[in-house]
């Protein structure tokens, strides 16, 4: 029975082989860029990607636009918020919770339907209005948490919408980079065709269908989709920003969660570009002529201090000493093969939110030792601290070796560092429970890395006293009236320049207070074949694929 089956399969295989060989292969001159992503699955394609910012990088900003976007045109300048599908916006002078957004005229979705105020309202409702037919719980989580204050949208006229926030919040235009505009007409088309017991089931079926054949307004259109294996995007020749019409015809995205598999795929020519190649393979890649790109990312690898009663970090001299005791350049060159940027704060000089901190974070061991001695410690009286960290994890870089490096470095400044190594998901959920929770296991610092693109995620949730657990990620219960006051000021300063200045003030205050042990920024390393040209890697989580070309 079995032999028969096997024989039949072999026969079919042999037949298929001959038939396939008989077909002439279609020759094509189209240029194709194949990319190996680190994600384990293709990020969701229906408008609000999952898989974190890598998701937004590949299925967000490629296929879709938001009302506002990021400037990805320079590798040197900070990446700032620029107009996207909205051309201008302003807050209502009388009621600071109301904003009007002027929409970009003449934009159409990939299915040909027009982009207008109705589309914006529809897209806000898909995640915020629970009784809207297009409301989709699966898109709410990733979206709503990134725009915590947005409440509703209203059409003023075809090209104007009014957005309302729960409280005055000057961060709204930055948050809106996360709300991608999907085509309501296309979705409606699927909804009308969908079968289902009730409206909810039909809606879910429509979203599932939309995910396979999506329509946004972005520079790339969805061409074909094999779940978990590959997504093909083709260029949108009618993109509204003529300067950003893609130069290559097609982009193929392949999920490859394993660093070695990615690297091997690049080396063997299966893909042209990989995200985050295996670090130890970098010399080999370079030697074989592959090109490496890296740039500082809005990402911080810190120790977040506990400030609860009795924590050794309550003494600012200790916090400053730790910050001065780390040779970050040594860490970069010795351990990370150059793949990090030393952190001297959440934002580095040149960033609009950097400000002018007076405490300069650098490697100065004598100064650190002096501060520790002033605080009452010395070679014979070490300060015991315990750090909770993980074995791996998204954005954690190389947590164990890096922490062991810090352990050795800080020993020189009279710290006795104990590591509490736990699993990444546990560390991440403990983050929300706070330093007082038993899950902290007596640790007085935690080592969760964070993205720093948006002021709420970069500063507010850590520094504002009201953000202490269980509300948000002020793990160490920082309670500093100065921070609270600066947060409030920044949120209620609406002129973009003035708002940035207020944020810079907040950031400078946090550095001066040595609120974290700032260690490193990730650099988003990627490796690619020399055929890929025109790559500009900005200081961002994202990258613009439009100017890239392929030499045959």
């Amino acid at each position: 029975m079995l032999i028969k089956t096997t024989a039949r399969a072999a026969l079919i295989a042999a037949l298929a082989l001959t038939t396939a060989a008989a077909w002439p292969r279609a020759a094509s001159a189209e240029t194709v860029l194949r990319i190996g992503m680190t994600a384990g699955d293709i990020p969701r394609t229906l408008g609000q990607p999952d898989q974190g910012f890598e998701g937004n990088r590949f299925t967000g900003v490629t296929m879709y636009d938001a009302l506002t976007g990021w400037d990805l045109s320079s590798a040197d300048k900070a990446s700032v918020v620029i107009p996207g599908l909205a051309t201008e916006w302003k807050v209502d002078d009388a009621d600071k919770t109301k904003w009007t957004f002027k929409l970009r005229p003449g934009v159409t979705f990939h299915d040909g339907s027009p982009f207008n105020a109705d589309a914006v309202v529809w897209n806000v409702d898909k995640v915020l209005k629970q009784d809207a037919p297009q409301f989709d719980p699966s898109q709410v989580g990733v979206t709503a948490s990134r725009m915590p204050t947005l409440a509703s949208a209203k059409k003023i006229d075809d090209m104007t919408v009014e957005l309302t926030t729960k409280e005055p919040d000057s961060f709204l235009p930055i948050n809106l980079t996360n709300l991608f505009m999907a085509s309501p007409a296309k979705w409606q088309h699927f909804y009308d065709k969908a079968e289902g017991a009730d409206a909810k089931a039909k809606s879910q079926a429509a979203w599932t269908a939309f995910a396979k054949d999506a329509a946004g307004t972005g520079p790339w259109k969805m061409a074909s989709f094999t779940p978990r294996e590959r997504l093909e995007l083709v260029k949108n020749a009618n993109y509204w920003d003529k300067a950003r019409v893609p130069k290559i015809d097609k982009m193929v995205l392949v999920p490859m969660p394993e660093a070695n598999a990615r690297t091997a795929a690049l080396l063997s020519g299966q893909v042209d570009w990989v995200e985050a190649p295996a670090p130890d393979a970098l010399p080999e890649l370079k030697q074989r002529g592959f090109k490496l790109y890296a740039n500082e990312q809005p990402h911080v690898w810190p120790w977040q201090f506990s400030r609860v009663e009795g924590s050794p970090w309550n003494d600012i001299r200790v916090r400053k000493a730790a910050n001065l005791c780390i040779d970050r350049e040594g860490l970069r060159d010795g351990l990370l093969a150059g793949l990090m940027v030393p952190a001297t704060g959440t934002f580095e000089p040149g960033h609009p939110w950097r400000g002018k901190p007076t405490f300069e974070i650098k490697y100065d061991k004598p100064a650190a030792q002096k501060l520790m001695q002033e605080a009452g410690f010395g070679p014979n009286k070490k300060l015991a601290v315990k750090i909770q960290t993980s074995t791996s994890g998204s954005g954690q870089m190389q947590p164990l070796p890096m922490n062991e490096y810090l352990q050795q470095a800080l020993a020189e400044c009279y710290f006795d560092v104990q590591l509490d190594v736990i699993e990444w998901n546990t560390l991440f959920s403990n983050w929300r429970r706070g330093a007082k929770d038993p899950s902290a296991n007596g640790s007085n610092a935690t080592n969760v890395t964070y993205a720093a693109m948006d002021p709420f995620f970069a500063l507010v949730r850590f520094l504002q006293s009201g953000m202490a657990p269980p509300v948000s990620n002020n793990w160490g219960f920082i309670n500093n009236p100065k921070f609270d006051e600066l947060v409030k000021k920044a949120r209620q300063t609406f002129g973009p320049a003035a708002r940035d200045a207020a944020l810079a003030e907040l950031h400078a205050a946090s550095v001066d207070d040595a609120a974290f042990l700032y260690v490193a920024h990730d650099v988003g390393p990627r490796a690619m074949s020399p055929k890929v040209t025109g790559v500009i890697q900005p200081k961002s989580w994202f990258i613009d694929f439009s100017p890239i070309s392929m030499t045959p």
Binding site: M1, L2, I3, T6, A9, A10, I12, A13, L15, A16, L17, A20, A21, G40, D41, R44, L46, D50, D136, P137, S138, V140, G141, V142, A144, S145, P148, Q204, W207, T208, A211, T226, P227, R228, E229, R230, V254, P255, M256, P257, E258, N260, A261, A264, A265, L267, S268, G269, Q270, N425, F428, S429, W431, R432, F457, R461, P470, V471, S472, N473
Partner: protein, 332 residues
């Protein structure tokens, strides 16, 4: 599974049918228990079931709202009942992370695993039968030793490690074969031509190593046993041609060898998380791995259920086949 040695005389056909009927009836409680074990295994796992769609920095209201929207606020027995009821109707729910129907996801993945398993079976069984026959015929010679060492190495090697070593040699160093994936256009564009088979070769060889070893050992043992029996000597003495002896060997070895190969094929059809992960082969093991890491409960329990049910029926099939081939087998 192993055939129980029994006393001499054969049983009547009706006994075999009764045994088969009884064996089929047993499947029903097993299926329900398997479903329960799947559900419990997935649900006693610590961690939020919504972690795939709910960032850790989401507010508590949002978390509660989503929990209710997905039905995770209901008591576990109710959730189990609803899940089982829908599963009986062929609906395993929708994946949390992707929103796609679980059944379709699992079936597509199983299809890819079948491709891999067939290729691995062709390689592994051919090699295994050949080596086993050679070793059995030339027992206690250097040929036997070599074939046996090969077989033993096959079942002893950590195969995901072997897979990586093969990638290094054939993809990175020699650049002959692609390292990962299921064809230049993904599994949806799969075809049985060289462009695609290139992708299949390394994972199939890696997967084939264990069945190759096991089949070699089985065939070797069977051949050796049959050849050492007195009546073979008698046949040879009577002047029976070697091909006749060989036919005799094949006839006697076939039932056990087929049973072993059937089981091996079954195991391969179940997929291997480790091999499929190393080669990014989009099969059921790869799907399971994603489900685990995305903590996608409907997908996880659906995948485990489908795979487990597959094995329940495989075991059933093997038992029935053995009863049919060898009616002497008596079961309790």
């Amino acid at each position: 599974m192993p055939p129980s040695p029994t006393r001499g005389e054969g049983k009547k056909e009706s006994d075999v049918l009764a045994y088969i009927a009884r064996r089929i009836v047993y499947v029903i409680p097993i299926v329900i228990s398997v479903a329960l074990v799947c559900f419990l295994l997935v649900h006693i796992t610590p961690g939020d079931p919504l972690v795939a769609v709910l960032p850790a920095d989401a507010s508590q209201e949002l978390a509660a709202q989503l929990r209710a929207a997905y039905g995770f606020d209901r008591p576990l027995p109710v959730q189990f009942g609803l899940w089982l009821l829908r599963a009986l109707h062929g609906d395993l729910g929708n994946s949390i992370a992707t929103g796609r129907p679980v059944l379709a996801e699992v079936m597509r993945a199983v299809g890819n695993t079948v491709t891999l398993a067939i290729a691995a079976a062709i390689i592994g069984f051919t090699m295994g039968i050949l080596l086993g026959l050679i070793a059995g015929y030339f027992r206690e010679t250097w040929v036997d030793k070599l074939a046996t060492s090969f077989a033993i190495a096959g079942v002893s090697v950590p195969h995901y490690w072997l897979g990586m070593v093969l990638v290094i040699i054939f993809s990175v160093e020699l650049n002959w074969l692609p390292a990962v994936g299921a064809g230049p256009g993904g599994s949806a564009a799969w075809a049985w031509d060289w462009e695609h088979l290139k992708y299949l070769l390394l994972p199939a060889i890696t997967t084939a190593v264990i069945p190759m070893g096991i089949v070699t050992r089985t065939v070797r043992a069977l051949t050796g046993d049959i050849l050492s029996q007195d009546f073979v000597e008698a046949l040879r003495a009577k002047g029976l041609h070697e091909t006749g002896v060989f036919r005799h060997v094949i006839k006697n070895a076939a039932p056990t060898a087929l049973a072993v190969m059937g089981l091996q094929l079954g195991y391969m059809l179940g997929g291997s998380i480790l091999i499929e992960t190393v080669f990014s082969w989009p099969g059921s093991g790869f799907l399971l791995n994603s489900a685990i890491f995305q903590r996608d409960l409907p997908l996880l329990q659906g995948t485990i259920l489908v795979l487990a049910l597959f094995f329940v029926f495989l075991n059933l099939l093997v038992d029935i086949a053995q009863a049919a081939i060898d009616p002497r087998i008596k079961r309790g």
